[in-house]
Amino acid sequence: MLSMNGYHLGIMSLTDHKIGQDFIIRIAKADDVPAVVAMDEAVTGLAKPDYWQDIFDRYGGRRRGRYFLVADHEGTMVGFIIGEVRAWEFGSPPCGWVFTLSVDDKLRLGGIGTALFQAVCDAFRKYGVTKVRTTVARDNDLVMSFFRSQGMMASSFLQLEIDVAS
């Protein structure tokens, strides 16, 4: 399963994106949360219903600059992406952040991840931002390759960290 979930980060005018004949991209609904929990659990091995409900409460529905989109195949959620516009952090002008992307692994290479990413980029573009960022674990070849295939390059920002445990 293609999945990345690492960075916790307008009104959306996105209408359903028809992509091919197999699935549509639409705004997440409350009914999608259990499927999101299950898809995430399949990847991480940990069910986090409270976390995803909180994410839905903050990003679901139509919100200005916040986008929680799902790929829907005949009523079944087969992938989702979450992002938002953030401004002036680290001195950066407003830009879109993608912090979660997941696709059913049985349907990988079917264009679902690309459709989700393009849909959220369209939403960012409509909001008025022209830069989209994400963070990927350096050893996550699958997700890194996916974002590279979308044309993403290394950012002008470097992420730094330190262990502060005693």
Partner: protein, 138 residues
């Protein structure tokens, strides 16, 4: 990072051939386009052939054709056929390595190398061809 001559030849060759998988090109044609030595490229193409990335087409109008999977072959895959992508931790021990200064230096160099490897390993030939297209369109 500075790629060796053979590695650059190999990358040009696979990118050129992968851009039109059904087309066959001679070593001469590829060498001329990139301004590289035909003899050198011929050796590189033989290596790429042994690895299954290109195949030689015999007969009149023969040449080379791409035979790999552009979505599954990364820049690192090609580079490793021609040079060692060394890491500090896997390389030979150098004088001073065990000193605090040597360990600190290794830590910084490992950080650089890890980023380099991650970059090369995340960019497939298919992704590179898109990037090439963007530069061509610019």
């Amino acid at each position: 990072m500075r790629l060796q001559k053979a590695t650059r030849c190999a990358l040009y060759a696979v990118l050129e051939l992968a851009s039109e998988p059904d087309r066959q090109m001679s070593a001469n044609e590829i060498a001329e386009k990139y301004g590289i030595s035909t003899n050198h490229l011929a050796k590189v193409l033989r290596n790429l052939g042994r690895e299954g990335l290109v195949e030689a087409v015999r007969g009149a109008g023969g040449g080379y054709r791409f035979a790999g999977n552009p979505k599954r072959t990364t820049l690192l895959d090609v580079i490793r056929l021609f040079e060692t992508v060394e890491t500090v931790s896997s390389g030979e021990r150098e004088p001073g390595d065990e000193t605090p200064e040597g360990k600190a230096l290794s830590q910084v160099i490992e950080e650089i190398e890890a980023t380099e490897r991650a970059t090369l390993n995340s960019i497939s030939l298919a992704t590179m061809l898109k990037l090439v297209g963007r530069h061509g369109a610019a």
